[in-house]
């Protein structure tokens, strides 16, 4: 397996959606190709860091304000009918 072929399968490999035979070919490649090992490992860390970092959390006070605005607009829509929105 070439490095470019490994890269093509990287996303499927990291997501665990891959058949056993391809998986073992990829792991054979990882065992001797240090560059692909590093790329695979650091891609996985990239995903985990973003997943765990909680960028853009919604502050509780803003959350409450947005929710009451939504609810009051929904109630208004209910009263006046669909044509008003």
């Amino acid at each position: 397996m070439k490095c470019s072929e490994f890269l093509q399968e990287l996303t499927n490999y990291l997501d665990g959606v891959i058949d056993d035979r391809t998986k073992s070919e990829l792991e054979d490649h990882l065992a001797w190709c240090h560059n692909c090992y590093v790329v695979c490992d650091t891609t996985k860390k990239t995903i985990e860091i973003y997943r765990d970092s909680q960028l853009y959390e919604l502050p509780e006070d803003l959350r409450t304000r947005l929710r009451s605005a939504i609810v009051s607009k929904c109630q208004q829509h209910k009263k006046t009918g669909p044509q008003s929105v």
């Binding site: 240090h34 590093v38 790329v39 860390k45 995903i47 960028l55 605005a69 609810v71 829509h77």
Partner: protein, 209 residues
Amino acid sequence: MSTIQPRVEQPVSDELALVQAAKGGDVAAFEELVRRYDRNVFRIAQHITQNREDAEDVVQDAFLKAYTNLGQFQGQSKFYTWLVRIAVNEALMKLRRRRPERTVSLDEEVKTEDDSLPREVADWSPNPEQQYSQAELREILTRTIQGLPPGFRTVFVLRDVEGLSTEETAEALDLSIPAVKSRLLRARLQLRERLSRFFQKPESGDGNK
């Protein structure tokens, strides 16, 4: 090497009942749906628009649009996937309005050149995020993801941050499954490449071990 463990939300069995009640005009039932997904919609909107006020507007507009169009929700997909589709469209409209000089579309075809081929292959520190303060780390991650084209950024956020499946992402963005997979791969590789600059081991300057 182990696979990524997705952040899986527990299936919500009463969700369909809430949707049905909301369809019948029960605003309290709809409020419960808002409570479940407002944080997700806000994150997605902010990632797409890159602007806090726009993201706040998108949360309101998307939920209101969902409420007024509940009759069209057939229940073949999850309510959340349907809602994300509405939210993505609202967010893209905001982005277009703010940047009228640039066409913003999820379909914009990004060069098929190997722009994602790894060039930086130095290993990272074992706990790279601990090299920085929380504030610095947020700044690094935010700037890095903002540098991706919107079409890549959105696929990455839905799949890897919000934990939608490939199929759900394809449905929410109206893309084919191969398109989602190809964008996801390139988004992941480009983010990795850009983060390497901040996270690589200090002693691995020559790239060899």
